[in-house]
């Protein structure tokens, strides 16, 4: 399957769930090699390219969901720019003073200077996923669509097959109560998240 046009890719990402999974799979299929080549041609190993691509995909999806991707460039170019920015950060962390090729400097877009860089800490991921696994899959779907994909409750109700938004809202509130209880019972994770939010 060929890569859809950008507006369709954005629509798929915003739709969440299966549409989002499909968009990620298609972008992996068609855009991974471009990022891989960019990283390995700029002193990166294959493992670096894999890491950077994964983090760049996370950032791309997040930016689309947050409305930060405004279509001023293509998704292809945008993803490459994100990957470049992340790779630069990684190189700078290893070697604080390093000279870059001119072509790399051109891609250094100030728009990415304040790009969200949530840590991809394995331990934090395990703590978070461990807690979320205690949540009902339907509740997780609620959180995915409402909080992450930022869909209105009316749209969430349609996507989840509820009769109306009020019924969806009531179920959503119950899910949230459960999640609050679980987080309250996990002081360690609460502290870590508190430190990140502050």
């Amino acid at each position: 399957m060929s890569l859809p046009q950008d507006p369709e890719l954005v629509r798929m990402i915003l739709s969440g769930g299966k549409g989002l999974n499909k968009a990620v799979a298609l972008m992996h299929q068609h855009l991974k090699s471009m990022v891989h080549q960019h990283i390995t041609h700029n002193s990166g190993r294959a493992e670096d390219a894999d890491d950077i691509f994964a983090e760049s995909m996370v950032a791309l999806v997040q930016n689309v969901l947050d409305g930060k991707f405004r279509g001023e460039s293509s998704i292809r170019t945008y993803l490459k720019s994100i990957a470049h920015h992340k790779w630069l950060n990684r190189l700078r962390a290893k070697r604080p003073t390093v000279a870059f090729e001119d072509h790399m400097a051109e891609l250094e877009d100030p728009a990415f200077a304040d790009m969200e860089d949530l840590p991809s800490d394995e331990r934090l991921a395990q703590l978070v996923d461990g807690l979320m696994q205690q949540i009902d899959p339907q509740c997780n779907k609620f959180f995915h669509l409402r909080y992450w994909c930022k869909q209105r409750m009316e749209q969430v109700a349609v996507n989840m097959g509820f009769k109306n938004a009020q019924i969806a809202k009531n179920k959503h509130q119950k899910c949230l109560k459960k999640l609050r209880e679980l987080l309250d019972g996990n002081e360690n994770l609460k502290d870590i998240l508190g430190g990140m939010v502050a």
Binding site: Q62, L118, N140, K169, L179, K190, G194, V197
Partner: protein, 264 residues
């Protein structure tokens, strides 16, 4: 202090930036004056962050799974191995001879699966007949084209009600198997196995056969043997494998014997 659902809803709208500028400013002013509301807002920010991290992890894991699948060597697709009855018999004889000479204890699960795939290719080949009128036909079309990734994507995009049907599950399991995504192939073929067998549907039988191949690929030899469930009373055993023809029964019996040797 316990806050009302309405208050939590206001916090939610604020954090999701659904308030107007004026509403948001008024809310922030209220928070500054109300310590309980401020504390609830701080707590809800953690909840939002938790959900954000979790969903980002999901994307990360999906990308890594796609990387792993892309690195697996391509196995011989089913479609290319759809052969005539005579050819299947000839290959079976070669396969049996290979095992006999090579010593089955030396064969890996992957090698055993490869040989078994040749024997069962015609069974699992989802040849498309007729027009692409239904979603199942379309899924079969992708499998015929060996477009495994497209097939799985197509399956994932199907409505839940169609995904839950046995035949699409079996076809999606085949596509995942072809991409060496054995966990996904396994869970779908297990579900397809649970479908009721009818006079016209051999889906549960085929799903069971696919599961045998998956278990071989994962070196789960005891489980594969248990699933084959060979029993000396031929009729009783053959009833469990109604989708097989005579030659394939022989191949399954041979596979069972080889597994017995391996498990000794």
């Amino acid at each position: 202090m316990k806050l009302s659902d309405d208050t939590y809803e206001r916090i939610e709208r604020y954090l999701l930036q659904e308030m107007t500028t004026e509403e948001a400013a008024a809310f922030e002013a209220t928070c500054q004056a109300d310590p309980d509301l401020a504390a609830a807002l701080a707590h809800e920010k953690k909840i939002h962050l938790l959900i954000r991290i979790h969903n980002q992890n999901q994307i990360r894991q999906q990308v890594r799974a796609l990387d792993t699948a892309a690195r697996q060597p391509r196995i011989i697709p089913f479609r290319r191995m759809a052969l005539t009855v005579g050819s299947i018999a000839a290959i079976l004889l070669v396969a049996i001879g290979y095992w006999w000479l090579g010593g089955s204890a030396e064969l890996t699960g992957g090698q055993m699966a490869q040989e078994a795939e040749k024997a069962f290719a015609a069974i699992l080949d989802p040849s498309l007949r007729g027009k692409l009128a239904t979603a199942e036909d379309s899924l079969g079309y992708y499998l015929n084209q060996e477009a495994w990734a497209e097939a799985t994507l197509y399956y994932l995009a199907m409505p839940d009600s169609l995904q839950a049907r046995a035949k699409p599950r079996l076809m999606a399991a085949q596509a995942y198997y072809a991409q060496s995504d054995y966990p996904q192939a396994d869970s779908l073929s297990l579900l397809a196995m649970g479908a009721p067998a009818t006079a016209t549907s051999e889906v549960p039988c085929k799903a069971k056969l696919l599961r045998v191949l998956i278990l071989l690929r994962r070196d789960q030899f005891a489980e594969a043997k248990a699933l084959i469930g060979y029993t000396p009373g031929e009729d009783a055993w053959k009833k469990k494998w109604e989708c097989l023809k005579t030659q394939q029964f022989d191949a399954l019996e041979k596979l069972d014997k080889e597994l017995s040797k391996k498990l000794r």
